[in-house]
C-alpha cells in the first residue's frame, strides 16, 4: 500500500510540476500511438472490407495469416523492423532505427492485423442482400463503401479501440527499435521499464497512472462516439 500511495502522490506531483521531460514523453507516446493507429486504420479498413466481401483464390490463407498476425508478439515485430532498418538492411540508408518513425513502424505492424482481421470478420457478416439493396438504389462502389462503413461503425470503432489499446500497451518493440533514448524515443512504456529496473517504483507508478489516464481518455472518446444516441 505504501508503494502505491507514494506512487500516487508522486504522480500528482509530477503532473502538477509540469515537468518538461514528462510532458515530452507523454506527448511522444500520444503522437506515436495515434499516428500508428491512424495508419493502420487508413490501410487496414479498406483491406478488411475487401477481404470480408470479395472471394478470391488464396483468400483463406491470407485471412489465416492476418488472424495469426493479430497475436504477433511485439518483440517479433520489433525484430523484423530492426532487421529492416539496420544499417546494412534494406532500408538502412534512411537511418530510421532509434527514431520515433521506427517505433511507429513497429506499432503499425502489431495493430494493422487487428484492424484488418476484425474488419474482415465484421464485413463477412454483412447480409449480401443489404449490399444488393444499397447498389439497387444507385450507389457507386465508393458510396457503397461509405454506407457500409457507417452501417458497421460500432464494430469498426471496437476494432480501432483494440488496435489502439495494443499500441499503447506495447513495450518490447518500442524498446528494440526506439532504444528508449532520452528526449528522442522515450515513451511511457519504455520509461516505465527503465524506472522499474532502476528501482524507482514511485516514478514507474506515476508513469503507469499517466498511461492509463491517456488510455482511458482516448477510449472514452471513442466509446462515446460508438455509443452516441442513434441518430442520422
Amino acid at each position: 500500500m505504501g508503494l502505491i500511495g507514494e506512487g500516487l502522490i508522486k504522480a500528482v506531483e509530477m503532473l502538477l510540476s509540469g515537468d518538461p521531460e514528462l510532458l515530452a514523453i507523454t506527448w511522444l507516446t500520444l503522437r506515436v500511438s495515434l499516428t500508428a493507429t491512424l495508419i493502420s486504420v487508413i490501410v487496414g479498413l479498406p483491406l478488411g472490407v475487401l477481404l470480408g466481401l470479395v472471394r478470391f483464390p488464396g483468400r483463406k490463407l491470407l485471412v489465416t495469416v492476418i488472424n495469426l498476425g493479430m497475436g504477433l508478439p511485439p518483440v517479433v515485430a520489433g525484430l523484423w523492423v530492426t532487421l529492416l532498418l539496420w544499417r546494412s538492411g534494406p532500408l538502412g540508408q534512411y537511418a530510421l532505427l532509434y527514431t520515433p518513425t521506427a517505433i511507429i513502424m513497429a506499432q503499425v505492424l502489431v495493430s494493422l492485423p487487428i484492424i484488418i482481421g476484425l474488419t474482415t470478420s465484421t464485413f463477412q457478416n454483412i447480409n449480401p442482400q443489404l449490399i444488393m439493396q444499397i447498389r439497387s438504389l444507385g450507389a457507386s462502389r465508393w458510396q457503397l463503401f461509405i454506407v457500409l462503413i457507417r452501417e458497421a461503425r460500432l464494430a469498426i470503432l471496437a476494432a480501432i479501440m483494440a488496435g489502439l489499446g495494443r499500441v499503447l500497451a506495447e513495450v518490447g518493440a518500442s524498446m528494440m527499435v526506439g532504444g528508449n533514448i532520452k528526449g528522442e524515443t522515450r515513451i511511457l512504456t519504455t520509461a516505465m521499464v527503465m524506472e522499474v529496473s532502476k528501482g524507482n517504483f514511485d516514478v514507474a507508478i506515476a508513469l503507469s497512472f499517466i498511461l492509463m489516464g491517456l488510455a482511458f481518455l482516448i477510449t472514452f472518446a471513442l466509446t462515446s462516439m460508438q455509443q452516441r444516441k442513434r441518430s442520422a
Binding site: 447480409n127 442482400q129 443489404l130 444488393m132 439493396q133 444499397i134 447498389r135 439497387s136 438504389l137 444507385g138 450507389a139 457507386s140 458510396q143 454506407v147 457507417r150 452501417e151 442513434r230 441518430s231 442520422a232
Partner: protein, 260 residues
C-alpha cells in the same frame, strides 16, 4: 413502347458439386408504364430473373437492352443504374432514421439538399409514413418498414421499379392496405414495374400482364386474367392449385370483400 428487353438469358450456377441452370428465358420485354407480374413456385428462378433484369446479378449469357441501349451486365453505366430501383421482401433499412433512409437514393444521385428534403417529405406523405420521419428505422413494424422501403425506391422516380415479393413478409391486413396504396401510386406515376410474387392473388390484383416461370423457363405469358383462367399444360398444375385454394377459401368465409 418497349423500354426493356431480355433475350436468351441463362443463369447457371457452377460449384464443385454441381452445375445447374437456374434460369433460361428466351424473351421478355417491358412496355412503358405497364406492370408485369412474374409468378411461379419456390425455386422457379423468379428472384434470379428480377436480379438479372435489375442489373444486380450478371447472367451467364444473354442480351439485355434498356431503352435501345445494349447493356453489358459486367459494366452497367451509372446513368442506367440511376434509372432503376428495387424493393425486396425484407425492407433492409439502414441503421439511421426513416428520413435519411428514404433520402439515400437521392444522395447517391447527388441531388441538391433542398430538393432532397422536398421529395423525401412528399414520398413519405404518399406512403402515409410522414409521421415516422424522425423515428429510427429499426424500431418500425414490418408494414411501416416496407412502406418506407417503397418510398425509398420511388423517391428517385425510377424509370423501372423492380419488386421482389415486397408483400410476402407482411400479415394479411397490412398487405392489403399496402397493395392498394402501391397500385394507386404506380398508376398515378405511370411507373413501369416488374412484380415478382408466388401469390396468385397478389399478381391478379397488381398486374396487367403475367409471366409464369416453371423450373427456370417461361412456361406461359399473357394478360394476367387470361393466363389465370386458361393455363396451359405446363402451368395448369401450379395455377389450378391456387384457383382451388381461392375458391375453397371464399366458399368458406362467404363472399369476401377482398381487393382481389
Amino acid at each position: 413502347m418497349i423500354i426493356y428487353e431480355l433475350e436468351d438469358v441463362r443463369y447457371d450456377i457452377e460449384s464443385k458439386k454441381e452445375s445447374r441452370t437456374i434460369l433460361k428465358v428466351d424473351h421478355l420485354s417491358l412496355q412503358e408504364g405497364e406492370i408485369v407480374g412474374v409468378i411461379g413456385p419456390n425455386g422457379a428462378g423468379k428472384s434470379t430473373l428480377l436480379k438479372v433484369m435489375a442489373f444486380l446479378l450478371p447472367p451467364t449469357t444473354g442480351k439485355l437492352t434498356y431503352r435501345g441501349q445494349r447493356i453489358n451486365p459486367g459494366a452497367v453505366p451509372m446513368s442506367v443504374r440511376h434509372q432503376l430501383a428495387t424493393v425486396f421482401q425484407h425492407s433492409l433499412l439502414l441503421d439511421m432514421d426513416v428520413f435519411h433512409n428514404v433520402a439515400l437514393g437521392l444522395k447517391f444521385r447527388k441531388i441538391d439538399k433542398v430538393e432532397q428534403n422536398r421529395r423525401v417529405e412528399q414520398w413519405l406523405e404518399r406512403f402515409k409514413v410522414a409521421h415516422l420521419a424522425r423515428q429510427h428505422a429499426h424500431t418500425l413494424s414490418g408494414g411501416e418498414a416496407q412502406r418506407v422501403s417503397l418510398a425509398r425506391a420511388l423517391v428517385v422516380e425510377p424509370d423501372i421499379l423492380f419488386l421482389d415479393e415486397p408483400f410476402s413478409a407482411l400479415d394479411f391486413p397490412t398487405k392489403v392496405s399496402l397493395m392498394e396504396d402501391l397500385k394507386q401510386i404506380l398508376k398515378e406515376t405511370k411507373t413501369t414495374a416488374l412484380f415478382v410474387s408466388h401469390d396468385l392473388m397478389e399478381v391478379k390484383y397488381m398486374t396487367e400482364r403475367l409471366v409464369v416461370l416453371i423450373e427456370g423457363h417461361k412456361a406461359q405469358e399473357g394478360p394476367t386474367d387470361a393466363v389465370i383462367h386458361q393455363p396451359n399444360d405446363q402451368t395448369a398444375p401450379f395455377l389450378n392449385q391456387w384457383r382451388q385454394f381461392i375458391h375453397s377459401f371464399s366458399g368458406r368465409i362467404g363472399s369476401p370483400s377482398l381487393p382481389y
